[in-house]
């Protein structure tokens, strides 16, 4: 069940009652203004409505005629804290560190925002990361827990990925890389961090 579907009360085409994840198959569906349809598989929702303004989710229950859909403004998908943090990154001027740091690239922020919205709308209990600026105008997305750290670091090429596993006071470091628009791999890294994947996603797709 997608997190966004649990949120009140904005819906245009109906309402989806919270149900166990496996009870719903979620897909994208074109709207009146026209978007393509994508299969999203069990328990996931992703894709964007026209003009990037809305996230559209259509829940398709197994029973015929029970389809329900809901339209969420993008600003509802992420928490005010995370959205505000991303907005603050947009406002950082060149030299924000008091030295020679570059202003953050709007495209880097937009890409990060998009992938976080996708994760947030896919997982009911999505854990929001911290997004921090880098001196070179890029940014870094970080998730931390007692035992695991995941960092997605923006670079001029593919994003650099670091996982850290803490055991008995020591850290084991794992590395990888991905294109930020590579949704399946980003999802795998996130699932590794929440411990639903036990093996580090090392394959660059």
């Amino acid at each position: 069940m997608a997190k966004s579907l649990m949120r009140p009360p904005f819906h245009r085409h109906g309402f989806i009652a919270p149900q166990p994840e496996r009870d719903l198959q979620l897909t994208y569906q074109s709207t009146a203004v026209g978007t393509s349809v994508e299969q999203a598989g069990w328990g996931t929702v992703h894709g964007w409505a026209p003009r990037d303004e809305f996230l559209i989710a259509v829940a398709q229950q197994n029973q015929p005629g029970s389809n329900r859909a809901r339209l969420l403004p993008r600003w509802q998908v992420l928490s005010p804290k995370l959205s505000g943090g991303l907005q603050n990154l947009r406002l950082l001027p060149a030299g924000w560190d008091g030295e020679d740091a570059l202003a953050i690239e709007p495209e880097a922020i937009a890409r990060a925002e998009r992938i976080l919205e996708k994760l947030a709308s896919t997982y009911l209990n999505f854990k929001e990361p911290v997004v921090v600026p880098k001196y070179d105008g890029n940014l870094q997305i970080e998730w931390h827990s007692a035992e695991r750290t995941l960092e997605l670091e923006g670079t001029s090429g593919p994003w650099s990925v670091m996982g850290a596993l803490r055991q008995n006071g020591d850290s084991i470091y794992l590395s990888g890389e991905m294109e930020l628009q590579d949704w399946p791999l980003a999802e795998e890294y996130y699932l590794w961090w929440v411990e639903r994947r036990l093996i580090w996603p090392s394959k660059l797709k």
């Binding site: 911290v130 921090v132 070179d136 940014l139 650099s160 470091y173 590395s175």
Partner: protein, 120 residues
């Protein structure tokens, strides 16, 4: 008059200011991104500096690292005082932490950082 270049002992602390956007509240420490400065991370050597001297108007925290800890992470710690005609000079305490800082190194530096001052 040029400042003398000295060797920074392993046991000495190096101060660095942290911008608010780089502070991880839940971890009570800076992000590893704070240490990924190229070609070198500017710090102030304790011998000629202090927290107040290192703090800036936009600082959220001032942290310190031991020079020896940095060297153990394959970093060179070099005293590089700024003369009066340099940007942000004069600063006799200025030093550089030089070396490649892959994510694992930056992460270790973030975890080794001691919080010396934190904005209220």
């Amino acid at each position: 008059m040029a400042f003398e270049i000295e060797v920074i002992p392993d046991a000495d602390r190096l101060f660095h200011h942290v911008h608010k956007s780089m502070w991880i509240e839940t971890e009570h420490r800076p992000s590893s991104a704070c240490f990924k400065k190229r070609p070198a991370l500017s710090v102030n050597w304790l011998k000629y500096s202090c927290v107040v001297h290192t703090r800036r108007p936009n600082s959220h925290a001032v942290i310190s690292l031991f020079a020896g800890d940095c060297r153990k992470l394959s970093q060179a710690v070099v005293h590089s005082p700024l003369e009066s005609d340099a940007p942000n000079g004069p600063n006799q305490a200025h030093a550089d932490i030089k070396g490649e800082k892959p994510q694992s190194t930056a992460d270790q530096m973030a975890k080794l950082a001691l919080t010396e001052w934190l904005a209220a």
